[in-house]
Symmetry: C2
Subunit: 223 residues, 2 copies
Amino acid sequence: MNAEKDAGHSRKPRADGLASRHAILDAACKLATTHGLEGLSIGELAEHIGMSKSGLYAHFKSKEELQLATIEAAIAIFNADVLEPAQKSRPGLARVNALVEAFLGHLLRRVFPAGCFFATVAAQLAARPGRPRDKIVGVQQSWAGEFAKALEQAREAGEIAASVDRAQLVFEIMAMLFLVNFEWIVTQEPGVLDKARAGVKRLLDEASAGRSKARRERPLQTH
Amino acid sequence: MNAEKDAGHSRKPRADGLASRHAILDAACKLATTHGLEGLSIGELAEHIGMSKSGLYAHFKSKEELQLATIEAAIAIFNADVLEPAQKSRPGLARVNALVEAFLGHLLRRVFPAGCFFATVAAQLAARPGRPRDKIVGVQQSWAGEFAKALEQAREAGEIAASVDRAQLVFEIMAMLFLVNFEWIVTQEPGVLDKARAGVKRLLDEASAGRSKARRERPLQTH
């Protein structure tokens, strides 16, 4: 969190400068889930946090730099709140469920005021090529990668059959989490989260049923 | 593009004024899929279509009025391009498939320059209460209603079992279409649309398998 070393001037950052950058990015992350990352102009953000525009410019040279730093800050929050707790689960299907539950908990706890930062920002930036979009696409791919890894572990552990199309399964799990995030934002009704839970459970039950079938086909295999 | 004829006074709208309104809204719909509906300020839109701000103000008294009229225009396009063709299909599961294919075709034909108008705008407005959001939520509910109706027909025709949770099925179908829209916008790769196709096929196959099971349980029923 001391990237402002490079911000506009060559002075060594002081402790209050660091805190200030942290406070700016925290506000920016939250504002982005309601106003969008594109709505995050330096002027509006400065007004929102009661800072001067020139004060903000000292930290971020351009709207794009601010957007990229905001995405970085949101990644750190998401990692600490969703990915790290989920990594404590058993690899395989338990990990898939832990990722799903950590994500739904993240929504329910309103870590960002309006649902998942990345879903909102990805939907908004999808049609706007550039560095912020590339970064968000990278986050989505890495989130998909977590599910792919857990499903690969599940296959290795014999929890699901090798014949299960894991890339398709990742798509379907992510689809449910993606839609439920927006239903949650609109309704603020915790019950809607059960739709994603039920959907993922059915997907995993089906993938496991595939395993039972595969096991029946290979009755002599004992490991 | 000569709407400023009516700027700032109360003359009755003439045919060229109406045509101009149509042209404005057509541009506004398209711009909204890339820049978002929130990004649709009267100033930016005026600049985009080469009109004066006062000319635009003659048509729309406020940004909100412009947003609501833009949503109405997008509804008319979506209805003509997706809903009406799909209504020609046989009621029931064939209708579900026709709705899905009409939607995927709508993306592929790039009717809007960046995917589904409603998915983008819904994602953007979810956290911003107001009349535009309410209107978009209404469109989403009516889109869900089309699937619910087709699945109800499928149940009546015995294509799926009465025990199938149709509300959950609607959620899962919509989830796949919602995510695939954004993957399509980012990748512009027609192959990604197959993920939604494969997902929906699996869902419907499973719902039909439920029916076979239900039929086996009621072997004497012949209708």
